[in-house]
């Protein structure tokens, strides 16, 4: 297989945006093309768009063609949309990676976009119920918060994890987001604010949850030869893996604090990249809720099983610790425009490994990881390197 690298990245402003679905595509596309002036839209051979629910939020299908036309891309090798709920963006990156590694394309854009906020707030939440099983789960009013709350309840009961340890992750990610001009939230948060915020689904409080957010992100991915011709600092895709335990809650591991699919995906990705958890300098993990980041520390191997609470409380996932986790602010601080999230994670790692992350820069970042999930049983892990490996 050929080596593959990121050669450009751009992100729209995330938030409750006064913008249409197409406006967001334009913003992310513009930011991505601006990051690599040598590439014009006509040079791009393929486009993959990660987007979960435009049929509900924009009454629109046929997404990849819409985005290609909006950006002036004329796909000659690949045009597709990926829908894998919250992991749609990273699943799209994997498609582009595979096409390029196999020699079927040399330059592909992956764009993630979601316009979740609607004039009526309760409609936006109703739409999120499309991500769980309609007949056996969503018919009861289930959306994501109670799912992850089950994991939090279990983790607290089994390992003594505390509400304060969960809140520390909310504080960290809100604080990181305050240094990210594209983040949904810009004000940071104190421990007292997080612990005093309203209860969403016990024990998860508002500031431990990602909000309903509009946004888009794009990356340009290239074969080795094309990458070296476009930039002095390609960011190499060194490992990629996906693993699934199940879709319905009752198909997952009986211990909801135990996510074996994430451990399997991580080990596969590390093996492919020739690295271990200890080599990771910067990680963008899927903190849709604080408990998800805490369990990710464990399953990714940053700490042992059950040690995620102390790991967070001791600052080991922050600047000056073992690994900087979610420097852009994560989903809690940046918001979670579903299809855009995985692509925005890749864009952050791209900036970090090039040393261009400014106030958010993790020192001497050489190996970056992204983790994107869709529910507690479906995980995608990518490993990026400053060196081709």
């Amino acid at each position: 297989m050929r080596k593959v690298a990121l050669v450009g990245a751009g992100v729209s402003r995330f938030g409750v945006r006064k913008a249409s679905y197409r406006d967001l595509i334009w913003e992310a596309g513009k930011a991505c093309f601006d990051s690599v002036p040598a590439v014009k839209p006509k040079d791009v051979e393929g486009l993959v768009v990660g987007s979960v629910m435009p049929e509900r939020t924009a009454f629109q299908s046929h997404i990849s063609s819409l985005a290609a036309e909006a950006l002036g891309i004329r796909p000659s090798a690949l045009s597709a949309r990926t829908e894998h709920m919250c992991a749609s963006g990273t699943v799209g990156i994997r498609y582009a990676y595979a096409f390029i590694a196999a020699g079927l394309a040399d330059l592909v854009m992956v764009l993630g976009v979601e316009k979740l906020n609607q004039p009526a707030g309760e409609e936006a939440i109703l739409n999120m119920g499309t991500g769980v099983d309609r007949e056996w789960e969503a018919s009861f009013g289930l959306t994501a918060p109670p799912c992850f709350a089950l994991a939090a309840q279990r983790h607290m009961a089994q390992y003594g994890t505390t509400e304060e340890q969960l809140a520390r992750i909310g504080v960290k990610n809100h604080t990181h987001a305050s240094k990210n001009p594209n983040a949904h939230f810009q004000k940071g948060a104190t421990l007292a604010q997080v612990l005093g915020s309203r209860m969403i689904s016990s024990p998860l409080r508002l500031f431990m949850c990602s909000p309903i957010t509009d946004g888009a992100a794009a990356v340009l991915i290239a074969s080795e030869d094309r990458a070296r011709s476009l930039t002095d600092k390609p960011v190499w895709i060194r490992g990629t893996a996906q693993a699934l335990d199940g879709f319905q809650l009752t198909s997952l591991h009986e211990d909801y604090a135990h996510w074996p699919a994430l451990a399997r995906a991580a080990q596969s990705a590390y093996r492919m990249a020739g690295v271990t958890a200890r080599d990771v300098n910067v990680a963008e993990v899927h903190d849709c809720f604080a408990i998800a980041e805490l369990i990710a520390y464990e399953e990714l191997g940053f700490c042992g099983k059950g040690e995620g609470g102390p790991f967070a409380a001791q600052g080991r996932s922050d600047y000056g610790g073992d690994v900087v986790v979610n420097p852009r602010g994560g989903l809690i601080g940046c918001g979670h425009p579903l299809g855009a999230t995985g692509v925005a994670q890749a864009a952050e790692v791209y900036a970090q490994l090039r040393g261009e992350a400014g106030a958010r820069q993790a020192p001497d970042a050489a190996i970056g990881l992204t983790h994107n999930n869709s529910g507690m049983g479906e995980h995608v892990v990518m490993i990026y390197g400053r060196d081709a490996g």
């Binding site: 309760e122 109703l126 089950l150 309840q153 209860m199 009752t250």
Partner: protein
């Protein structure tokens, strides 16, 4: 007209719409049932018309006990979808060795604990567009 028209959040349960209609017929009569694969005899939850283990598409209906215990639960206070109100007790119920996702109706959240005994309490929801009654397999504290 309101700005948005909420989609119907409940399944279409009649024989015109699903191979699993027997589940709902029994549920309306107060019985919790599921499928047993006619090929490999595996008991499924939720019921299914294709066996992912042996590939058979023939199945028998089996009544479950209707009494179980709380394996895990959470109380959602706010942020529920349009048409649903909090506080809402979501639970994983252990029943005859199976895990069943559901809600606990009329439950004081302070009285719910892991291990609490619960029993089936079919919940009538909005009729389907053809006017037929619909039920969901909800539970209540025993």
């Amino acid at each position: 007209m309101t700005y948005f028209r909420a989609t119907d959040p409940f399944p279409l349960e009649s024989a015109d719409h699903t191979k699993l209609h027997e589940f709902y017929t029994r549920l309306a009569a107060g019985r919790l049932a599921t499928t047993r694969c006619a090929g490999c005899r595996r008991l499924a939850w939720p019921p299914r018309a294709f066996c992912g283990e042996c590939g058979a598409d023939r199945f028998d209906w089996v009544d479950l006990s209707g009494e179980g215990t709380v394996h895990a639960f959470t109380v959602q206070e706010t942020g529920l979808p349009a048409g649903f109100q909090g506080p809402r007790v979501f639970a994983i119920v252990k029943i005859d060795g199976l895990r069943v996702f559901s809600i606990l109706v009329d439950a004081d959240p302070a009285k719910v604990a892991i291990g609490s005994a619960v029993r089936l309490s079919p919940l009538r929801v909005a009729d389907d567009p053809g006017g037929s009654a619909r039920w969901l397999p909800a539970f209540r504290l025993a």
